[in-house]
Amino acid sequence: MARFKSSAWGLAVAIALVALVLPLMLPSYALATECLIFAMAALGCNLLLGRLGLLSFGQAIFFGAGAYCVGILSLRFGTGIVAGLLAATAVSALLAVAIGWLATQRTGVYLIMLTLALSQMFFFLCYAAPDVTGGDNGLMNIPRPNLAFGGHELLSLASPFAFYVFVATICTVAFYLMARLIASPFGATLEAIRDNEDRAVAIGYDTRLYKVIAFVAAGAVTGLAGGLYALALKFVPLANVDLAMSERIIVMTILGGTNALFGSMLGSIAVVVLSYVLSDIWARWQIILGALLVAVALYLRGGLASLLDKAVARANEGARP
């Protein structure tokens, strides 16, 4: 894991490997696609929580905005897939400027409460604007256009396999870029702010600016994930912007672990696959999920990624004579 942290290429290779193996382990491409999409959503949350120590209950705003953006553009204007996803990323990033600017006026519990309030506001706004968002019914029959560039069709995304490859590529690139970001001087500054914000101000950093920029990066990748989710489901439910969605993203992030970006992938796979498998077995499956969350909070504070860390360490030890 230490290598993944320092090397963006290492992380990209690891993500690509996971993307390669995932469909072999899971019953369908759809499930694997969902894992990768939520890994990207959790990646944004990971940047904020892991690098900056900021817990945002507003991640569903970005996820939902990205999804609505792709949905509305392709339904109303027949926008292509690349333009749609770019717009989703840009719109979420813009929203993140506003949300980040407001939220970082406060710290600690008040920041959490502020993101919670903003998230609820956004939910009720979407609910109250059915002409735009489809309200409670959501946006249906969203087309999934083929990948085209300058009028030339490059790839049909109609088959589950083709779409999975498309998502896997974007996901790998997103993880790679995020790893570059946190390895940069900018990323170093975020760690400094997490460690001691007062001091960071005293040596001359405009810490709020850094926090807002981090919000923008997190918002952009989460919005991109939301846009992909709209294309995956061909449907944008109101549930994309509800509090449960923010909770889901947070749970994936913390469960996976915030010491390494790879944790977001683990957290997403764990939650998506568990809720799929368990709900098939027992209607009260959320008892198991709940107990698992408590256990992780108490006994596995570094999340699933730390488990992997330990396994690697043990394997290294065992390899030595």
């Binding site: 570059r180 970001l181 390895a183 940069s184 001087p185 900018f186 990323g187 170093a188 500054t189 760690e191 400094a192 460690d195 001691n196 007062d198 001091r199 960071a200 101000v201 005293a202 040596i203 001359g204 950093y205 405009d206 810490t207 920029i213």
Partner: protein, 257 residues
Amino acid sequence: MTHSLPATQGPPLAVSGIEKRFDGFQALKGVSFTIEDRGVYAFIGPNGAGKTTLFNCIAGRIRPSAGEVRVAGRDITRLPSHRRVHAGLARSFQITNLFASLSVHENVRLAVQAHSPRRVVNMWRGRDTLTDVGARTDTLLARLMLTDKQAIPAGLLSHGEQRRLEIAMALAGDPRVLLLDEPTSGMGIDDIDIMTGLIAEFGKSMAVVLIEHNVRLVMKISRSITVLHRGAILRSGLPEAIAADPQVRAAYLGAAA
């Protein structure tokens, strides 16, 4: 590293008419002084004289109720803390305040990096690839005698080493004015001697504003000493003159009694 800030003419630090009121209590009653040149300038006074309030007003941690602070001719009274650093004003904290979980090297590197703003927000390069930042970091570590400790987390340094690290970080931007708040508090004899020597040396290249209890240290290295009493300046002058001043003695004894 040099700054290309406007209005770099004028004395390093000019404070005029600083007042601070807290809920009916007047902590500072109009403090004015000007530091014209390099050297160590000490501020002493009995407890409650307003030293720390004055320090915080200059550093930007609290905003004065009235008055003005200028660094190198530039009015910084309303500037947020982080921008004062770029105006040439650096400070260390009375309570040790570091990035405890980061390495000594990274602490200094971050402080140096803060002064290359165009590349700070660069999200593409590795954090260790800014070579001039690396060189400056190494210089500072050597100057503060921390080179052999650079790999360990700052939280694991001894108290004296932590105070030195504080100062290394404050020096990162090559400030015109360095504010030090009781740099030797809680130190052992050996560490105090090292620190005293370092402060004297800094005084050769910048204006050092020192708030200190240790009168012996102050006497040894200060170019000028200012005594604060009940929120106002009581006396200001050469160390010997201050030591002999009856009013200063009365203030200290009165406070003690």
